[in-house]
């Protein structure tokens, strides 16, 4: 066994090194998938009366999907009759509120906030928190919250702690609006992919 390296080994290593060096120069630390809410049909403004797109649930290879609906609280209207929480088309109950909830997984929590008026539910602000353990990103609430019905505070986001970062993201293959694309992690996490 000779201790030295053959000439061909040196050539191969140099070639590999140069290519790797070239790639490292343009490498990003981490790249993740993220949904642009301005493109996603469930939150895209102006698309009114269209069917809810639930491909994020159906296509994702992760069980229960890596996509979640997220309520940006600072944009939430805090309505008493939230069209994302209630099925506003269902029959009205005795309390004056719709009798059915919209979420098929009952993942939205509702509670009155501020100086609560116990006698008149309409006289309060409400907080709507999405239970990430239950939500699978089906987009129903996102569509219901969209302008003009709501304020569009709920959007779909990829949860980077659940996403397995497939090269061939199955959602991106199926997404009719090409709304899910890869971003350098920092941008996607800080939400820079969405200017609004």
């Amino acid at each position: 066994m000779s201790k030295g390296f053959s000439r061909r080994q040196v050539v191969a290593v140099t070639g590999l090194g140069l290519t790797a060096g070239f790639l490292v120069k343009k490498a990003e630390g981490q790249v993740v998938w993220q949904i642009d809410s301005k493109s996603c049909v469930n939150s895209k403004l102006g698309e009114v009366g269209v069917k809810v797109c639930d491909l994020c649930v159906k296509e994702c290879v992760v069980t229960q999907s890596a996509v979640r609906a997220v309520n940006e609280f600072s944009k939430c209207g805090r309505c008493c009759v939230c069209p994302a929480y209630f099925n506003v088309k269902s029959a009205v109950g005795k309390d004056g509120l719709p009798s059915e909830k919209l979420c098929p997984r009952d993942a939205i929590l509702r509670k009155p906030i501020g100086e609560v008026d116990p006698n008149d539910p309409a006289n309060n602000f409400y907080e709507y928190v999405i239970d990430e353990a239950k939500c699978d990103g089906c987009g129903k609430c996102v569509m219901a919250c969209k302008e003009p019905a709501g304020l569009g505070s709920i959007v779909l986001r990829v949860r980077h702690d659940l996403c397995v970062n497939c090269n061939n993201c199955a959602i991106s293959q199926a997404c009719p609006k090409d709304a899910i694309t890869q971003w350098p992690a920092l941008k996607a996490v800080l939400g820079l992919s969405e200017t609004a």
Binding site: V88, G114, A122, N123, P148, G150
Partner: protein, 277 residues
């Protein structure tokens, strides 16, 4: 009582003399004229829909009102501009004390302005001294207006009828801020009530104490009697589904004007039978 949809003014093919981006305010003058504010201009129409006058405003108008003496007040972000009936700028109220002005009304010599940023109606005397705020004295510290527009109109008796969409009500206030009562409630898809998260968005007073309101998310206009009972639905599905905060006005003959916010049209509805004036 029935209404007929008689005319559409404007629309996508109206060319450069029409509004380009928004129609936010409508007012019916006592002379039967229609005043409309949008973009950064005011347009005045005769009862036949012919443009009588157009003039520019400093900022995009959010609402407008015509005073008894013919002056035209245009509410904008942070200011109110006052024009003569001929479009001459007479005065402008500016300063930090005005937020987003989305409705203006009159109570004798006093002026009431709806400030959507403060979620209340502010009452000023003729010397512009603030007398009081209306609608702040509740658990929600103001009107619930996630739609971003606070609209009201004052009737002949000086009662303020204000839309409180988050509560699905039209509330009646005395000028001193006392809540007199309300009409309306959430009622799912039933047109007797107000649907969605926050309706009605805009309100106007029709003849005979009737209320004319517009709704979003299933854009439509409705006429209610003074007790809040549904009189007529003025057009469902004739307005673009994306409409929100459609301005509404009603004149002394009971004619109703609705500003469609997406395709920028003004719809005119008339009572099927002429009413005694």
């Amino acid at each position: 009582m029935e209404y007929r949809h008689t005319r559409v003014m404007g629309g996508p093919e109206s060319g450069p003399d029409w509004f380009r981006h928004a129609i936010r305010g409508l007012a019916a003058g006592r002379d039967g004229r229609l005043y409309a504010a949008g973009d950064s201009r005011v347009m005045v129409f005769d009862p036949a829909g012919k443009v009588l006058r157009t003039w520019a405003t400093a900022k995009p108008g959010c609402c407008l009102a015509v005073a008894a003496d013919g002056r035209v007040l245009v509410g904008e972000a942070g200011q109110v501009e006052i024009f003569s009936g001929a479009g001459q700028l007479l005065q402008a109220w500016r300063g930090g004390w005005l937020g987003e002005i989305t409705a203006i009304g009159f109570h004798g010599a006093e002026t009431l302005v709806a400030d959507a940023a403060a979620r209340c109606i502010r009452r000023y005397d003729s010397g512009l001294k603030k007398l009081n705020d209306i609608g702040l004295d509740n658990r929600t510290n103001g009107f619930l207006i996630p739609n971003g527009v606070l609209d009201f109109e004052v009737d002949a008796a000086g009662v303020i009828h204000a839309a409180n969409p988050g509560k699905h009500r039209v509330e009646r206030y005395q000028a001193d801020g006392k809540l007199l009562g309300h009409v309306g409630r959430f009622d799912g898809l039933n047109p007797e009530g107000f649907p969605g998260c926050c309706n009605p968005t805009n309100v106007a007073l029709g003849t005979g104490g009737r209320l004319v309101v517009t709704e979003k998310a299933e854009s439509r206009a409705k006429v209610l009697d003074s007790g809040g009972k549904l009189v007529a639905v003025l057009g469902t599905r004739i307005f673009d589904a994306g409409c929100k905060n459609m301005a509404v006005a009603s004149d002394f003959r009971g004619r109703v004007y609705v500003a469609e916010t997406v395709k920028l049209r003004i719809f005119v509805f008339e009572p099927a039978r002429a009413e005694a004036v």
